[in-house]
């Protein structure tokens, strides 16, 4: 294969896999006569999406912005906390167990309490998206800092660099590929968080749409909602991937570009 062909194939791959998946799903549904109420066929879901794209779009946009707001907060907070945890063994040993504990707790148990405090609407969705998604960023940033090579550390110390300078000039750039890796996990969690919050209370977003569709036994619409979330997830991922490609080129040097 020439380089050009490879590049084209790489661009086509996601679509190919997607097509294979959907066709397989469709055929499986047909072959096993799966009732629509359990698992609608993709063709049915597409039908619903085409029919109701305007409603879906409106609800999507509501979900999208709460998710992004929560995600941005998660990045900022995750970076800061990661820096703190990675920089000091005391913060590490003091906070890590608590962070684990907090994250092992299903957020669905906490969202109602959040809503009692924050009211119902966009705010609890943003907050849920935030609290559910910051942890992966923390662990990767902290690991990036904790594993800075002692040679680099010595270099910075010999220049009289402050802790903070070491972090920003060495820790962060060095951990950049992993920071982006964690963003991939984080953004999916942010979606889960805001959709979760929308199902717990309020009349907005894809979460509400899906819940009320499922209360009506309207599986096709519920799945259309799932598709919409998946699509938004991919969109945000694509945006991140673009930035990633520019910022981590050094780390995949000599590798076929991705």
């Amino acid at each position: 294969m020439t380089g050009r062909q490879r590049r084209l194939l790489r661009l086509a791959m996601p679509w190919l896999t997607l097509a294979v998946l959907l066709i397989g799903w469709e055929l499986a549904c047909l072959a096993f006569v799966v009732p629509e109420i359990i698992l609608p066929r993709p063709s049915r879901i597409m039908e619903v999406i085409v029919q109701r794209w305007d409603i879906l779009l409106r609800f999507c946009l509501e979900t999208l912005w709460t998710t992004l707001a929560g995600f941005v907060m998660a990045i900022a907070f995750g970076l800061l906390l990661g820096l703190a945890v990675g920089a000091s063994p005391f913060v590490y040993s003091g906070l890590y167990p608590l962070l684990i504990a907090f994250n092992a707790i299903p957020k669905v148990a906490i969202v109602p309490i959040l809503m009692i405090w924050l009211g119902i609407g966009a705010l609890p969705a943003v907050v849920t998206a935030f609290v559910i998604s910051f942890f992966p960023i923390v662990v990767n940033v902290a690991t990036g800092l904790a594993t800075i090579e002692p040679e680099m550390r010595d270099l910075m110390r010999s220049l009289g660099a402050s802790q903070w300078e070491t972090l920003t000039k060495v820790g962060i750039p060095r951990a950049m590929p992993y920071l982006f890796a964690s963003l991939k996990v984080s953004v999916t969690l942010a979606f889960v968080g805001s959709v979760l919050s929308e199902t717990v209370g309020g009349n907005r977003g894809i979460g509400f749409l899906m819940l009320s569709a499922s209360a009506r036994n309207d599986s096709a619409t519920t799945f259309a909602g799932l598709f919409a979330i998946a699509l938004m997830g991919i969109g945000v991922y694509a945006a991140c991937a673009l930035v990633e490609q520019r910022m981590t080129r050094w780390a995949v040097r000599g590798q076929p570009s991705r």
Binding site: E149, E151, M152, D154, L155, M156, R157, S158, L159, G160, A161, E165, K169, V170, P173, R174, M176, W250, A251, R253, G254
Partner: protein, 263 residues
């Protein structure tokens, strides 16, 4: 040399590891370095030269003994040092120019001025790169340079902010003889202009004698200082100097002392 020394090591020793792992890398070193002195350290591989450098700059705390700088005991890395480590520590995410400019971003007077005087600082970096034969490589990343080029960058980074104390750990080991000798000249010129204090670790005795005021010879591990030799050849020294009998004799003298360690 009656003035107070800049750096003083008193019976300093250093052991790495603990318990069964414990290994003495440097044993009982006493030496003092004047302000503006150019010191060279030679000795067999693994004798503790790099360790000594880290002790002098406070990067490592001594196991026993004391390290004094300006008469005060050192507990943290001392500021105003330029260090070229033995394994080049260039950052792969920065271009060569940005790597060299790192000290400007961190060291005190420069870091506040960098924003507004960026062009001026960049010109300085370019000039330094050119002086070591790397003109035009500023935009390359370190992993796009050859081994010898990386090493030259590494030295540039130690020099660029004109530190008072310069530590060079085998700075020219990966260079061919001619490039190396050129750089001796560059280094000597800089030293004559600025009179910084320098410590050079090297395996090349001609290099040591060419550049240094004082050469210390270390024994095998655990390293002790077994010889101190002042070089009072006149400055500036040139490549011709290196063929003069006085020069060759000192080199031989040092060579013989080291050979004793290998017996």
């Amino acid at each position: 040399m009656a003035s107070e020394p800049l750096v003083e090591l008193r019976n300093v020793s250093l052991a790495y590891g603990e318990g069964r792992e414990r290994m003495v890398a440097l044993g009982d070193a006493t030496l003092s370095i004047e302000k503006g002195e150019f010191v060279a350290v030679v000795g067999p591989s693994g004798c503790g030269k790099s360790t000594l450098m880290k002790l002098v700059t406070g990067l490592l705390p001594p196991s026993t003994g004391t390290v004094l700088v300006h008469g005060r005991e050192v507990t943290a890395p001392i500021p105003g040092v330029g260090m070229a480590f033995q394994n080049s520590t260039l950052m792969p995410w920065r271009t060569t120019r940005d790597n060299i400019m790192l000290p400007f971003e961190v060291v005190a007077p420069h870091k506040h001025r960098l924003r507004r005087h960026r062009a001026e600082y960049e010109a300085k970096a370019e000039a330094l790169l050119a002086s070591v034969g790397l003109a035009g490589f500023g935009d390359k990343y370190p992993w796009q340079l050859s081994g010898g080029m990386q090493q030259r960058c590494n030295v540039c980074r130690a020099l660029i902010h004109e530190p008072e104390i310069l530590m060079l750990d085998e700075p020219f080991g990966a260079l061919d003889a001619f490039t190396r000798e050129e750089l001796w000249g560059v280094m000597q010129k800089l030293w004559l202009e600025r009179r910084f204090t320098a410590v050079l670790v090297t395996h090349d005795l001609r290099e040591a004698v060419y550049l240094a005021d004082t050469v210390y010879v270390m024994s095998r591990r655990p390293g002790r200082i077994v010889k101190r030799r002042t070089i009072d050849l006149p400055r500036p020294r040139t490549l011709d100097t290196t063929f003069e009998p006085g020069f060759v004799e000192i080199v031989h003298e040092l060579r013989e002392r080291i050979q004793m360690e290998h017996a």
